[in-house]
């Protein structure tokens, strides 16, 4: 079996969620099939500037074929187009222009996929919202397996993505919430799909004392790992934690790991360590009492899974359906939707040893049951086997005619999104794969 993994950026040092997800999957599937990665020369996800050499190279034993991006993203133009398609009635042409402005625009990549389609059994497209996935799935629908990595943002309400979700051969969802959202927005229930997620390279042995010694942290602490960004809920986390620290003077410290996009408050109980190596990161997680995930939008939080793998409970933002659902289904984390809930839940995890231990144990079990690599690999292989048995469905829905594409009658994406039901998925019917 020969597989292609198509993703917007790729590299051992590229740490975006979807990009890392794609790399892990490519490296794991390489044990069962011949895998080739098709990607762009971009390293920066904001500008898509060509920074890596085009052509073939090998990353961790996987052949990687890079194609140049023809235009960098202009943030002002992209912002203007986003506002138009997200907030007002617009045309299909407006959405296509939005897709081009979002990028990474790489026609050479799409041409290569089309030309070499027959040499692949299946092509895995990561991140539905980007240029490569939309054009790739439309051209290779009969072999396309989509890994949407969709969050609850207005892009899911754009009309151009409906045919892509309905036309792909199979869909590998990250969470039950993601599947529920995509199915509600695009009515693609007919397309075979499975909730998979991704595993993680969690080391068998961690050394918390090494971390404490290296970073001179002696007190118990909660940890946040990720970009320090207001969009990730960090502003709210800083505010809540400072209030909590004033109320509980001898409570947990907060350790922050990641690149700062926003200023970090100066507080004697908040320690910002910057970017850490994987070894240090896992040591830090093992040394922490718990992980805090303040993000409002996640398709799957890998760091939460890593915390669970190490037996650490998670305190998540309850306004993020995916995180809340994960906490409830795993019984390995608590969640908050206000400061009072943040304080109560953090305090419970801090002070109630038996509860903390039980949640940690549940997390470890949950990770082993659903996110261990053999489980993930099996789900992918089963999906490929199922798709091989089935005939490819009819061709993907065509785009409207030139004139129809310019008719301004497509509702605002935000309006579509507001009609999509939200909430955590608590119970799942395994036969139907539907919310019970």
């Amino acid at each position: 079996m020969k597989l292609a993994v198509v993703v917007q950026r790729y590299g051992a040092d590229i740490n975006g969620g979807a990009e890392q997800h794609a790399r892990y999957i490519a490296e794991r599937l390489a044990k069962h099939a011949e895998v080739e990665v098709v990607t762009t020369c971009a390293r920066d996800y904001v500008s898509w500037r060509n920074e890596l050499a085009p052509g073939l190279e090998t990353v961790n034993g996987i052949p990687v074929r890079r194609f140049p991006v023809t235009r960098e993203r202009h943030p002002i133009e992209f912002g203007r187009r986003s506002q138009k398609v997200f907030d007002s009635v617009h045309s299909v042409a407006d959405e296509l222009a939005w897709l081009d402005s979002e990028g990474p625009t790489s026609p050479a990549l799409v041409r290569y996929l089309q030309a070499s389609a027959d040499s692949f059994d299946f092509v895995l497209f990561f991140s539905y919202r980007y240029y490569h996935a939309w054009h790739g799935v439309r051209r290779l629908a009969s072999r396309a397996v989509l890994v949407p990595t969709a969050e609850r943002d207005p892009a899911i309400g754009l009309s151009i993505f409906g045919p892509v979700f309905r036309g792909a051969r199979g869909i590998m969802y990250n969470s039950y919430e993601e599947r529920a959202m995509i199915q509600a927005a695009t009515h693609n229930e007919r397309v075979p799909g499975v909730v998979v997620g991704v595993g993680s390279e969690v080391p068998a042995r961690t050394e918390p004392t090494r971390f404490r010694r290296r970073h001179k942290i002696s007190r118990p602490f909660a940890i946040y790992i990720g970009r320090l960004d207001a969009n990730k809920g960090c502003g709210e986390l800083f505010d809540y934690f400072q209030r909590y620290a004033a109320t509980f003077p001898r409570g947990l410290d907060l350790v922050l790991v990641g690149k700062p996009i926003m200023p970090v408050p100066k507080h004697h109980r908040i320690h910002h360590l910057g970017y850490l190596s994987d070894e240090d990161k896992f040591d830090a997680l093992a040394a922490a009492d718990l992980l805090i995930m303040p993000s409002y939008f996640e398709s799957l939080s890998m760091v939460a899974l890593e915390a669970w793998a190490l037996g650490r409970p998670v305190l998540a933002n309850g306004r993020c359906d995916v995180l809340k659902g994960q906490c409830i289904r795993s019984n390995a984390g608590l969640y908050y939707e206000s400061y009072e809930e943040f304080a109560e839940t953090l305090y419970s995890l801090e002070s109630n040893g038996p509860l903390h231990a039980r949640l940690g144990r549940n997390g470890r079990e949950y990770f082993a049951r659903h996110y261990a690599w053999p489980v993930i690999e099996k789900k992918y292989l089963d999906m490929f086997a199922q798709l091989k048995k089935q005939n490819a469905s009819a061709a993907i829905e065509p785009l409207p005619s030139w004139l129809a594409r310019r008719r301004r009658e497509v509702p605002a994406a935000n309006d579509i999104l507001s009609r999509v039901p939200s909430g955590a998925v608590v119970r799942v019917d395994s036969r139907q794969g539907r919310i019970a």
């Binding site: 004033a246 109320t247 509980f248 003077p249 001898r250 906490c327 409830i328 289904r329 795993s330 019984n331 390995a332 984390g333 608590l334 969640y335 206000s338 400061y339 009072e340 809930e341 109560e344 839940t345 305090y347 419970s348 002070s351 109630n352 040893g353 038996p354 509860l355 039980r358 949640l359 549940n362 079990e365 949950y366 608590v426 119970r427 799942v428 019917d429 395994s430």
Partner: protein, 269 residues
């Protein structure tokens, strides 16, 4: 398929968390409602935080910047005064002619009173200045003190909360040796005691032993050969007075593990 682990129910815990928050708040307001209430309060009522600690400084600088005219004494001779004695004498001489045109006396008197008023106003202003100075200092000091006290109260309540929960958590994990007596229970209703209470309850066993001891003492007094009863009493005393010698078959209370272990002595409470 229910994908949840059954031994801990996160949803149930969250319900308890919300119930605790409701208890603390008294009324179940949403975040938005609380914010709205807070903003209404600030708009409608005098905000004590509005007393600024830099008020005194502003007042002082304003006082220094203002150019108050010099006060002067106004007597009945003031209107005739001059630096030249000749002119002063001439004005006095012509005074009767001036009085033919108008009466200067009320003007002189009113200006005299005004001068006195100015004097008293200046003295009062110095007093007001001192008063405001002291008030601002006191208010600022009180504000800081209130803030400190608030923080201390919050800190103490959180510590109390912490201790209570810790005690509850520890009570939940106290381990007893299999076959040992159940932990000491706080006194329940009288009905339980009358019925004998839960099997193996230490408090009930102690009460029962005490009753038996009393019966034995009474019998001992009636019986001759007091040395036997004295022996019995000594033995009972040697057993801590808890049980008669014949009660040795009863289970013994296993003390909780040391404080370092998960358990920490809460069984004695």
């Amino acid at each position: 398929m229910d994908v949840r682990n059954d031994s801990v129910d996160v949803e149930q815990i969250m319900k308890q968390v919300r119930a605790r928050i409701r208890e603390k708040r008294g009324v179940d307001y949403t975040e938005e409602e609380i914010r709205e209430l807070a903003s209404v309060k600030l708009e409608r009522f005098l905000d004590p935080k509005g007393v600024r600690s830099d008020l005194l400084e502003q007042y002082r600088s304003r006082r220094e910047a203002s150019t108050t005219p010099r006060n002067y004494a106004f007597e009945d001779t003031t209107i005739y005064e001059s630096s030249r004695p000749f002119l002063r004498a001439l004005r006095k001489l012509l005074n009767p002619i001036l009085k033919l045109f108008f009466n200067p006396t009320p003007v002189v008197e009113s200006l005299h009173i005004q001068s006195k008023l100015n004097d008293s106003y200046n003295q009062a202003e110095a007093l007001y200045y001192e008063l405001i100075h002291n008030l601002v200092l006191e208010t600022t000091r009180l504000g800081i003190e209130v803030k400190n006290l608030k923080m201390r109260v919050e800190s103490m309540s959180s510590r109390l909360d912490f201790d209570e929960r810790r005690a509850r958590a520890l009570e939940g994990v106290v381990q007893y040796r299999p076959g040992a007596v159940a932990p000491l229970q706080p006194p329940a209703g009288g009905g339980d005691r009358e019925r004998g209470g839960p099997v193996g309850s230490v408090s009930n066993q102690a009460a029962e032993a005490e009753r038996r001891n009393r019966r034995r003492r009474r019998r001992g007094r009636r019986r001759p050969g007091g040395h036997q009863s004295a022996n019995g009493e000594r033995q009972a005393a040697a057993n801590g007075g808890d049980a008669a010698p014949g009660d040795a078959g009863g289970a013994s209370f296993e003390p909780p593990p040391p404080a370092g272990d998960a358990g920490g002595g809460s069984a004695e409470s």
